[in-house]
Amino acid sequence: MAECPVCGAAFNLAEGTEKGEIIICGDCGSELEVTGKDSVQEAPQEEEDWGE
């Protein structure tokens, strides 16, 4: 069971998911990079600049 580092949602990685693959958290929509059998980390993202 993996846990989203952003929102804490617990989920199972689909069979055949490979290390380095990018998945989307079903709860918060964060892009997550698979780092192991049951582990993920937040994937690097490009920030949007909303006029800041």
Binding site: G8, A9, G29
Partner: protein
């Protein structure tokens, strides 16, 4: 089940009628409007053409039904309770007349002496998410205010699970669409005056504060601003959470309380255009979208609803579904439009 609507010519009543005409378990028997009696309802609600051949009737023509919806201007139902309550075993009221449990609150917020204080506790407050079990046993339900709903729903889980630092203030600001003001015209609603406005119409003292404080058990500092929008409310609330609380904890709070709720969605994304709740894509839906962002101990909570749906007609149908044991989402499955 046979239902009728008292006061169906307003925006709230019209939205309710639209939903009920497409509800699988309901037959709409009569709809009233003293001003439009005898006229087809499609004269007032043109979106219902080819959906109904009903004409408006007068209240005195009403026949007994299984459930009566009351959508009259504030203070009218409380004056006519005895007359109308005899028409149905169950009532869902969309006005403010039985929302507050404290009789004194009616004098303070509505400047009226309530003629039926003994009935106040018989009405269940209309947010299903807070009062589902009570509604299953209820005869009477009183719909919650639109701004109150958009403020209560995002804040309630945080109070319920003890995340809020209650020693500090909770401040909420609502941006509101023009349909909140109903279909009566005024100088303020005249197009050249209303169009393009960002009008601070209730910086303090909004009547819905009474409901917010009743349901949340905490002082709420609330302001309302009219903006260029027909339907919709966006509430931005600021509060302080206990020091040890993280953003992940806030996710867990909402997941625990609202994880199984059919009409609550947590909207907080890092990419895309609609990263936080936005009323525009909720028009015609019964959703309340909730987002948040934590800045130290200051939590900013954002929520959006369609004021005529989750804030009025949709909420009333949801409450009826629970009260009558129907599928909770019956008649309420529209997902909204995009783009719109």
């Amino acid at each position: 089940m046979k239902v009728s609507i008292v006061g169906a010519s307003g925006y709230g009543g019209g939205e309710l009628l639209r939903l009920l005409l497409n509800h699988p378990d309901v037959e709409v028997h009569q709809v009233t409007s003293e001003r439009n009696a005898g006229k087809p309802v499609t004269r007032v609600h043109p979106n219902l053409r080819k959906n109904t051949s009903l004409n408006f009737c007068m209240v005195k023509e009403l026949e007994k039904v299984d459930l009566l919806f009351v959508s009259l201007p504030h203070t009218q139902f409380m004056q006519r309770f005895d007359e109308l309550s005899g028409l149905a075993e169950r009532i869902v009221d969309l006005s403010a007349d039985f929302r507050l449990k404290d009789m004194a609150a009616y004098q303070k917020w509505y400047e009226v002496e309530h003629p039926h204080p003994d009935k106040l506790t018989q009405f269940v407050y209309g947010n299903v998410e807070l009062h589902r079990e009570e509604m299953k046993k209820a005869r009477y339900i009183s719909g919650a205010g639109c701004n109150a709903t958009a403020t209560i729903l995002p804040l309630w889980p945080l109070f319920k699970l003890g995340a809020v630092d209650t020693a500090l203030p909770v401040v909420a600001e609502a941006k509101c669409g023009s349909s909140e003001g109903g279909n009566a015209v005024s100088e303020a609603s005249h197009h050249p005056e209303r169009s393009g406005c960002v009008r601070s119409y209730k910086p303090t003292g909004h009547r819905h504060i009474a409901e917010m404080e009743q349901e949340l058990g905490h002082r709420i500092y609330f302001s309302a601003t009219s903006i260029e929008m027909v339907r919709g409310i966006l509430v931005t609330a600021h509060l302080f959470v206990k020091p040890e609380i993280t953003e992940k904890d806030i996710w867990k709070v909402y997941r625990q309380v609202y994880g199984q709720e059919p009409f609550i969605r947590i909207v907080k994304e890092k990419q895309g255009i609609y990263r936080f709740p936005e009323p525009k894509i909720l028009a015609g839906t019964n959703y309340c979208d909730i987002g948040f962002e934590l800045d130290g101990t200051r939590l900013v909570v954002v929520s959006a609803i369609d004021n005529l749906m989750k804030g009025a007609g949709g909420q009333a149908v949801h409450a009826m579904n629970v009260m009558c044991g129907f599928e909770e989402t019956a008649g309420l499955t529209f997902t909204g439009l995009h783009p719109v």
